[in-house]
Amino acid sequence: MGLLNKLDDPYEGGGIVLGKVEDLLNWGRSKSDWYLHFGLACCAIEFMAMNASHFDFMRFGTIPRTSPRQADFIMVTGTVTFKMADRIKVLYEQMAEPKYVISVGSCSNCGGPYWEHGYHVLKGVDRIIPVDVYIPGCPPRPEAFEEGMMLLQSKISKQAIFNKRKKLEAEL
């Protein structure tokens, strides 16, 4: 139990846990992320394999949603073209805060194999929406998806909910 280990329990055996509300909320948030799957190209097929037997992505507490309004994070898997770029932006803007982005595969990280001569390929999805986690690979192995998801979870669980500005200033 990640949360309970972190807290000291002065009333041992009393069933009372002292801790910050923030930690509790973050713990809940990070362990049940719903995602909007934005399958674009080959990486999406690996992601399908990730969702199916053998790898079982749902054990991270993720549930695929088809509507951006219900999603916590968006998973951009594949090549982003110019024709598609506007739509990704619109979908991202429809999501409710707090929202996160995972960019999967070299293509959405930086253009991938289509970097040099791809006249119709956007060179990285981070040029239109902010990205939290990059998963490299062409396509990434399912193990890489797992690591990317764990990175996102650890990022969420460290985030400030109250007094955001104060904490940010302290960090700077």
Binding site: A85, H120, K123
Partner: protein, 158 residues
């Protein structure tokens, strides 16, 4: 039926509209056709009982420097024979008759050739871009194509 037999038949039917025949290896044998006659030739190839080319395998737009070319690969389901037709048109006025009426599959192939190579197919009922966005400028597969710097405020190449 072999390609040279098809060429002979077409030659007797269309005369000067059939320009040349080439079967030098390793190229697949092909028949050059006069550009404005290509619809009639294709019509005959499809409906003539001897040919029955009912299957258009591929339609390709080509950049030949001064000209643009269109290559048709035909196949007959019944006789299992093939033929390759070629036409050229000057780049300044790249007009080629459309064969979309004959083979429905040519619809999208021709839209693609128009989109990427800028060949104007005359008689096509819906000749609009298919792969690039509708407001894209230029025809990207031409050799002299220059990639635009920005598209809708996004930088194209770095």
């Amino acid at each position: 039926m072999l390609a040279n037999e098809i060429f002979d038949r077409l030659k007797t039917e269309f005369g000067d509209a059939i320009l040349a025949f080439d079967d030098t290896q390793p190229t697949d044998p092909f028949i050059m056709v006069q550009t404005d006659k290509v619809f009639d030739v294709c019509y005959s190839l499809r409906d003539n009982d001897e040919f029955q080319f009912d299957y258009l395998m591929c339609l390709t737009g080509m950049d030949l420097g001064e000209n643009v070319g269109v290559v048709y690969h035909l196949y007959s389901m019944k006789f299992k024979h093939k033929v390759v037709l070629k036409v050229v048109a000057p780049k300044a006025d790249p007009k080629v008759p459309s064969v979309e009426m004959l083979w429905k599959t040519a619809d999208w192939h021709e839209r693609e050739a128009y989109d990427l190579m800028g060949v104007q197919f005359e008689g096509h009922r819906n000749l609009i871009r298919i792969l690039c966005p509708y407001d894209w400028e230029g025809h990207p597969l031409r050799k002299d194509y220059e990639t635009p710097e920005f598209y809708h405020g996004m930088k194209v190449s770095y």
